[in-house]
């Protein structure tokens, strides 16, 4: 079970959080101008990569705030957490096969 450092409340058990998928996928400003393929890419397609992933979590049983986590999907190591709107952190490059 992960120990997630909420940028507001501090370290809390994974049970207090909900997962929100990959981060930095911005909702298109003018969806009508997108092709079906482009829209489907926004709604459905995620690379599901092995290595450090920037992802969103929400502290649903705590402060109810959304934030971003840089987490290695292989080792589960959390490299950084940062608030919504903050700059992406520098994260180590992973060279998993």
């Amino acid at each position: 079970m992960l120990l997630i450092p909420c940028p507001y409340c501090g370290e809390r058990d994974e049970t207090e959080f909900s997962y929100g998928g990959e981060a930095h996928i911005e909702r298109p400003k003018e969806p009508d101008k997108l092709s079906d393929a482009e829209w489907a890419d926004y709604v459905f397609m995620r690379p599901n990569s092995k290595g450090v992933l920037l992802e969103r979590w929400v502290h649903s049983h705590g402060c109810r705030r959304w934030f971003n986590v840089a987490r290695d999907t292989l080792t589960y190591k959390i490299h950084a957490v940062y608030k919504m709107g903050e700059k992406r952190p520098r994260v180590p490059k992973t060279d998993y096969v």
Binding site: Y8, C9, G10, R12, E16, H61, G62, C63, R65
Partner: protein
């Protein structure tokens, strides 16, 4: 406000006063935990930009208490307590009359970016104290409640068993005569989960010996 004798607490049907004996009689050990339901208290949810001085000043003026900006802390003035719930969210806890507190805050914050919502009726408060109160909560709550981490005056939103709670460590009224009565907590829980949480805590407290008080 309507006659308060028309009120029913969400634990009223359990008849807490009558349950006490069942636990004391069954065990030969001294009660390590005391539990009770607090009477109605005012609970107002306050939202607004913590960094905005006008907002913070208006709140402080209305309540007398400063807005806590440190995570998981509370402030207080007289019988008003303010809990930090999130970076832009607080609870104002008063011994009675949530609607009046909400009105006062609304008036103070008129025209500002803020939201004031009376939630006094949504939750009840279970009070837990005693030498093993911390061990009891640890059975259901993932927070580290060790005094080095969580002390009197702190608050946190978390879980206890399968119920969402807001936990507030308070001074122990039993800690008289220089005797340490153990830690004391107020556990706020949604009304609909109150029976579940109470029964869960009763069961979990069995090994420590449980005393049930009127509050």
């Amino acid at each position: 406000m309507a006659d308060s004798f028309l009120r029913h607490s969400p634990l009223a049907h359990l008849g807490l006063a009558g349950r006490a004996g069942a636990f004391e009689a069954g065990t030969a050990i001294e009660a390590g935990v005391t539990m009770g339901e607090r009477p109605y208290r005012g609970l107002v949810n306050l939202r607004g930009p913590a960094g905005d001085k006008a907002f913070a000043d208006a709140v402080q003026k209305a309540l007398g208490a400063a807005l806590p900006v440190e995570p998981n802390t509370t402030t207080g003035k007289g019988d008003v307590a303010v809990f930090w719930l999130g970076p832009d969210e607080w609870w104002v806890v008063t011994p009675s009359d949530g609607p009046a507190t909400a009105d006062k805050l609304r008036a103070a914050l008129a025209g500002q970016k803020a939201a004031v919502t009376d939630v006094s009726e949504s939750r009840t408060c279970i009070h837990i104290r005693g030498a093993q109160a911390r061990d009891l909560l640890a059975k259901g709550c993932p927070l580290d409640l060790h005094p080095r981490v969580f002390a009197a005056g702190q608050c946190a939103q978390s879980l206890c068993a399968k119920a969402m709670i807001t936990l507030h460590q308070v001074a122990n009224d039993d800690a008289e005569d220089g005797k340490d009565g153990g830690p004391a907590y107020d556990v706020y829980v949604l009304n609909s989960f109150a029976e579940y949480l109470w029964l869960w805590l009763e069961d979990a407290a069995r090994e420590y010996g449980l005393r049930i008080t009127s509050q």
